[in-house]
Symmetry: C3
Subunit: 259 residues, 3 copies
């Protein structure tokens, strides 16, 4: 987090935007592009080369993009081939493997570990220590909490993996496991420590091992506070409906624009 | 762990006690106080500035305290505003967010991740990879094991969080989840992978998802070894009753003094 | 991963093989031996001294061995007294505590945390964020997936721990907990989020909390693909039967040789 830029190592084949700040010991490899006003904190590695780097003398690092106004906290390692949108932020010691695509306004918590070829939409928030296996996908406005996992291998170990998917606006509580190839719909809430073993329709509250659908999330009542779900109607910090409210934002057709 | 003090960066507005040792690349920010004879190993960051540091030109780092005789192993990141007692020790890559208060003689294992505004009493031991959400609290002599989590948000995402609490002497096994606002009593044992969904009275053995109270811990029998709980009667390493035994220590009124 | 060898610190009492490459800031302590053609990436620590290093002026670092052709990715911390075989590879931020013995051709994923006095056989693959407690043991060809844990303390906290064991060829899915002293047989498949509370015989599919044996793994059917287990008959990447097939390899008596 000391933004002195001491002992940094920036490839001459990287493109660094305006007003980018670097912490100490940052390493930026070939073919990385960092957007304007991004902050890359101490000891981060951007564009970490793929495994073939170690033995292929002709190795070329694939294009890696970090969006504008991003804040990458210390010790993140972002592999080559990742494309990450604007306003990205992370905690510490995040790892993102190669060829993963992340939309705009996303944040990843401390220790979160994203494998290769993952797709994450816009405005997603993954808290500390989330693990996403290769080829999984998330829509927009998805929140995942610590130690939740998306998996991809129905018969481990195998060469034929099949990523799981989480739909827009869905909340995945702590310690949830989503089994390989499983599709969770939009606006769902999956309870703590659940194991999701089959397709979950939109607006479901599901919990347990295996996860059972308990009810429609719109029927959940919070003592003295009415209906907490769908959550965008009561929570807007950092979300695109922050100023106008979710319902107005949807009516104005903004939702369609983002997605 | 190389205590050469090479390439360290200590703010002129930090107070460093006598005989403090620093590893390489350590960073100590403004308004940090480190007690006598502490060891701060390689690549640690003490007093990491809060988010407003990045855009507030008037930013002032709040007071941060690390107690005497502490051993902070490599790559710990301790945010500004934390107050940590004497004889503190950590594994590697620990993260402690801002304004967290930790008592004396505590230890945190490798990768453990403590969020902001947490309160931890004295003589607590959190093993590897424990996650404590913001505003949770622990009493004294609490042990937590890997991948256990204290949560704080009953209807995620929300702005109104409510921390969970663990009472004195309680043992939280691996992979336990404590739901938001839940209060666990003293001298409890919560079994592996349990999800604690309601208040747990003192001396309970509870296990399962949701956790069910099975019996009084004092009725647990270990084959050929009698009653293992309450554990302080048979385990004293590093505890204040180490020399005299737990019962004598309680009789001497020492327990009341510590708490 | 920048293999410039800048700012490295290699003890004069370490033995470094031929063609070994070092990343930046690597530290190698006394009595470490690194085999030929190994690559030790940025910020790794090899031979991290034990706790007595901090207060014993006569401290001697025990022998630590890293095998030939190993690739240790950035920020690994490997304690003194570890013996690790050839062709070892790791992800980032791996921690291995003292006196752990690991066979040949093993790999450990990012954030994996191996405690002291663990024994791991040959050709094991531990993915991201696996936690192995002290004195646990694994056979050969064992795969473990993220957030799985082997435990060792039946009545925490205690001074008398008893490691759990996983037999050859067994697959441990995500978030599995193996209770202290439990023995899992060969060729088993333990389902996601299971808690293994009793001995599991060879070739068992077990799942749940507590884990129940559902059937013989050889009776599992994959839609349109026949029987996926035993897995060595269909998966050979990086395994010693890669060129000749598992059945031929067993018939040729190679299995006996390796084990």
């Amino acid at each position: 987090m000391k933004l002195t830029g001491k002992n940094i190592s920036i490839s001459s084949r990287a493109k660094i935007g305006k007003n980018v700040q670097f912490g100490e010991n940052v390493v930026v490899y070939d073919n990385v592009e960092i957007g304007d006003s991004a902050i890359i904190c101490n000891d981060c590695v951007i564009g970490e080369p793929l495994a073939s780097y170690y033995d292929d003398p002709e190795y070329q690092n694939p294009l890696t993009i970090i969006g504008r106004n991003s804040l990458v906290r210390s010790h993140a390692i972002i592999y080559a081939g990742c494309m990450i949108g604007d306003e990205f932020s992370t905690g510490h010691r995040v790892t993102i493997r190669e060829n993963t695509i992340i939309g705009k306004n996303c944040s990843l918590g401390t220790l979160t570990d994203i494998q290769n070829n993952v797709r994450i939409g816009d405005y997603c928030r993954l808290h500390s220590n989330v693990h996403i296996s290769a080829q999984c996908s998330l829509g927009n406005y998805v929140f995942m909490y610590p130690f939740s996992v998306m998996t991809n291998d129905p018969f481990p170990p195998s060469e034929t993996i099949i990523g799981s998917h989480i739909g827009n606006y869905t909340q995945i509580a702590v310690h949830v496991v989503i089994l390989p190839g499983i599709h969770i719909g939009e606006h769902c809430l999956i309870g703590a420590s659940s194991v999701v073993t089959k397709k979950i329709p939109d607006y479901s509250l599901a919990t347990g091992n295996p996860a059972i659908i308990l009810r429609d999330v719109r029927k959940i009542r919070a003592l003295g506070k009415g209906h907490p779900y769908p959550w965008p109607q009561r929570f807007s910090r950092g979300m695109p409906w922050d100023k106008i409210g979710y319902d107005s934002w949807v009516e104005a057709g903004q939702e369609a624009k983002v997605e």
